[in-house]
């Protein structure tokens, strides 16, 4: 296909996207009953109401009027902060353990049954245990993130390392590389595409989990914000916050997408 055809394909899909959005917004707006002036709004708010609320929140994202009234930027900041702590810890543990598992098939076989049992557990199911042992709701939420990120990274790292071509390991053996160089120059770069795929999957599931965890623990974060606004019957805020979680999730995924591109190699 030539360049022009590709461009027009892309243009077509952009136009379709915009058209779909317009239709969706129009149907949404039309299905919403506009309340009589002075009367209380009933049913779902329309897109115009959400947009005006969104504008309000985005124009002052960092205000802080006490525990139940913080700007959306602050709330998202709390959530992203928890995400980064739990996720980074999980990545460090999972990649180290995954490399060990990938390099020793015996160890892999011994641990695999436990991994298979632990993997399908909803990360939120651990919450009571964390609350009981850690006795801090915010740290418990971080641990939920840890649990949700751990398994995909671990499984992908072990898989990627176990599948490293014999040739590359032979080269590192012939060159008598120290274990540190072997790890940094051969094993990790060779398994990088698989590891980054695991990182990408788990940042998505961790972001999904943090919203739910924050609804449970309360206090701060975008999940708590959604729940709090629901209690206030501020559906415009709820809808906008939902959209924001989607937007942040997209940003995180795009970041890992471009990381994956730089770390992939052609043989």
């Amino acid at each position: 296909m030539d360049q022009i055809a590709v461009m027009s394909e892309r243009k077509k899909s952009i136009i379709s996207s915009v058209a779909l959005l317009t239709i969706f917004l129009a149907v949404w707006q039309l299905s919403v009953k506009t309340p009589a002036p002075g009367a209380k709004a009933e049913g779902l708010p329309g897109p115009m109401a959400v947009a005006s609320r969104a504008w309000e929140m985005v124009s002052d994202p960092f205000y802080n009027n006490g525990p139940n009234d913080k700007g959306i930027g602050i709330q998202l900041g709390y959530s992203v902060g928890r995400l980064l702590i739990g996720y980074t810890a999980a990545a460090l543990v999972a990649i180290s353990l995954g490399v060990m598992l990938g390099l020793s098939p015996g160890f892999y076989r011994a641990l695999n049954p436990y991994i298979q049992v632990l993997k399908p557990i909803s990360p939120l199911a651990w919450m009571p245990l964390f609350l009981y042992t850690i006795k801090d709701s915010s740290q418990s939420a971080v641990m939920v993130i840890f649990m949700s990120s751990l398994w995909p990274i671990l499984a992908n790292t072990a898989f990627g390392v176990a599948g490293i071509k014999r040739d590359y390991l032979n080269v590192s053996a012939l060159l008598q590389l120290s274990w540190f160089k072997r790890l940094w120059k051969v094993i990790l770069p060779a398994a990088a595409p698989a590891i980054v795929a695991g990182l990408r999957i788990s940042i998505g599931s961790a972001w999904v989990a943090i919203v739910a965890a924050e609804m449970l623990i309360g206090g701060t974060g975008i999940g708590y914000f959604v729940w709090n606004e629901w209690n206030n019957l501020q559906l415009t805020s709820v809808i906008f916050a939902i959209l924001m979680t989607g937007f942040v999730g997209l940003l995180l995924d795009t970041g890992f997408g471009s990381l994956a591109k730089t770390l992939t190699y052609k043989e």
Binding site: L174, L177, E267
Partner: protein, 282 residues
């Protein structure tokens, strides 16, 4: 005592059902310093396995490899391999691939010296200008040039060439063989090569070791090639002696193929009949 001694090495693979398959048996091969020795044999005679055993990447079932008076059974920088499939690290550039090896071999050198040295080898194999390219962007011939540069740069006691030109197109193959000859003439490394290519073996080697077919392959004969060096391809190919050696080797390879009864589908050793076995030299 020779520089590199393969002392009655045998290799068995264990198969499903607990049976052992003998790949080759009691191979005894002595290589002198600065000698270029090539092993020729059919697929399955275990010549690449033998090369891996010398490299330390595989263990012999019986026997030992002695290099410069010391037994070697693990890989080391004193033996570098040039692989049939190049085995370059695809996430590193040409330059980085060679530098990794140089840094490993000469850890005490300072960065400047390492860089100059790596560049010299890049230039030597004619890859100046392609330093930052990754292997995937190179042709097979260019990749193997990197492989050769990496191996020579380490200055090993023994160079092990595992069918180094098998995956390179025929037109380029000759050029790279010439380059290998040139590099070898300059360094006089001890070389052990395995190949299918009879002409290549005669052109490059001082001695050609002929293996019978596997299983239970044996080193049958060593053919000496005494053409003066440096050799020029066009001149060597025209020599009557070249034709004579080529005929001898090809006849050997033809005659050592084992025949199986037409209706027999098993691969057991008993089912194989040696039509003719050249008496192994002691």
């Amino acid at each position: 005592m020779s520089f590199l001694e393969v002392e009655t090495v045998s290799k068995y693979f264990s198969e499903a059902g607990g049976q052992r398959l003998c790949v080759f048996k009691d191979v005894r091969l002595h290589i002198e310093k600065s000698e270029f020795v090539t092993m020729v044999g059919h697929s399955g005679c275990g010549k690449s396995t033998l090369l891996n055993i010398i490299a330390g990447l595989e263990k012999p079932t019986e026997g030992a490899v002695i290099l410069d008076g010391r037994e070697v059974d693990t890989p080391g920088l004193d033996r570098m391999v040039v692989f049939q499939n190049f085995s370059l690290l695809p996430w590193m550039s040409v330059y980085e691939n060679i530098r990794l090896a140089v840094k490993a071999a000469f850890a005490q050198w300072e960065a400047r010296k390492i860089n100059d040295y790596v560049q010299r080898y890049v230039n030597m194999v004619g890859l100046a200008g392609s330093e930052t390219k990754r292997p995937a962007a190179l042709s097979g011939g260019m990749r193997q040039r990197v492989g050769l540069a990496r191996a020579f740069a380490v200055q090993p006691k023994v160079l092990l060439l595992d069918e180094p030109f098998a995956q390179i197109d025929a037109l380029t193959r000759g050029t790279i063989q010439d380059e290998l000859m040139r590099m070898w003439t300059a360094t006089r490394n001890t070389v052990f090569m395995v190949t299918h290519d009879v002409e290549e073996a005669i052109l490059l080697s001082d001695k050609i070791a002929l293996m019978t077919s596997g299983p239970s392959a044996q080193l049958a004969e060593i053919v000496e090639v005494t053409f003066p060096r440096p050799r020029v391809r066009e001149e060597v190919l025209d020599l009557a002696e070249f034709a004579r050696i080529k005929k001898h080797v090809i006849n050997f390879l033809k005659n050592c193929v084992r025949e199986r009864p037409a209706n027999d589908t098993t691969f057991g050793t008993d089912a194989l009949v040696v039509t003719r076995r050249v008496a192994a030299k002691a």
